[in-house]
Symmetry: C2
Subunit: 206 residues, 2 copies
């Protein structure tokens, strides 16, 4: 597959991880307990480690990480501005939705990648983090029905924004190589279906 595709994919991932790190760690301040703050902080630190792995891979390929990230900065920032959590519960939900949709997205595009890049993409997925978030969300929703309806609404907003984002990155950004643009429709359907399944598992109507 084209080098340019890998360059753009890694650029989007790197910037995504760097901004996830910054957003998660600033959201951490609003955690209900110090233990929750520490837990969110640990997740943020994991995102930063991912950012470093992706940057290192770009450097290994002879690319400048900054140049690779720059094209994605405006749209990723705008995404975060449009999905600013109102409190800690919404932060946790946002982290969970983005984590799982990104994991699905990156694992779907992995088939177009060279083996080392595919390994890297696999390495930075964090199923343990998703399980921790899922368990925390389940507990919240079980304990507070009013929170459940608010989070269901928030989940719908997030998935809409996340899919728009994935589409923009992959189409407008020339993200997917020419031949696989037809891959786009079924991928979006798949991402939506998986998200709905996860929301049901939380006891939320997606």
């Amino acid at each position: 597959m084209t080098d340019r595709f890998v360059f753009e994919l890694l650029g989007a991932m790197a910037y995504g991880e760097l901004s996830a790190f910054e957003r998660l760690s600033s959201d951490a301040r609003f955690s209900p307990t110090l233990q929750d703050r520490a837990a969110l902080g640990r997740m943020a630190v994991a995102e930063f480690r991912h950012f470093e792995l992706v940057s290192d891979r770009l450097a290994d390929l002879g690319h400048d990480a900054e140049a690779a990230m720059r094209p994605f900065q405006v749209s990723v920032d705008a995404f975060h501005d449009r999905t600013r959590p109102a409190d800690w519960y919404e932060s946790i939900m946002k982290a969970y939705v983005i984590d799982t949709i990104s994991a699905d997205f990156y694992s779907a595009v992995s088939q177009f990648l060279d083996a080392p890049t595919r390994d890297l993409v696999a390495e930075i997925q964090d199923p343990e983090e998703s399980s921790v978030l899922q368990a925390r969300l389940r507990g919240m929703v079980r304990d507070d029905p009013r929170l459940a309806s608010r989070l269901a609404l928030w989940g719908r907003r997030l998935v809409g924004e996340a899919l728009t984002q994935a589409q923009r990155l992959s189409l407008e950004g020339g993200f997917l190589p020419e031949g696989v643009a037809s891959f786009q429709g079924p991928l979006m359907a798949e991402l939506t279906k998986n998200h709905s399944r996860r929301m049901s598992q939380l006891g939320l109507t997606a």
Copy 2:
């Protein structure tokens, strides 16, 4: 030395590191370049690692980290609210001033600590981080005289707040053991003198 003293010192350090992590990583967003954002992020991650080391030490001593941190939460948060940087330059300056004053403060109180706690305090000092910050500040001040006068003013504000904070932590918080309260005056004088020397080294009038 009393166990309570160690408990309180570690609690203050732990909360200080956790909040430094959160503040630094949220400030990172305002960095002029992506490289600067990554650099600030790396520093934030180092603070989080310190937080974990201190929490682990509290756990080893049979203490609950959350209980140890809680008494310092209000005053540390208030300190950060009073010293909210207006931009990236002020963030860097704040990180430098706090890093160096805390290092001086903790190394001065180290003499009252048991050996393992003293080792921990030494381990979480980060002279490399301070040098990076110092070099960056020197460059900024050299390049822009208007920035220099703004940072000089900001430095004075920061040191005032930081010393008030150190004093509050150590006196009101019962931070220093009874016998060494007389240690307070000379310590503050020492912290001030060292800060002034560092400001002069940057080409700023303290």
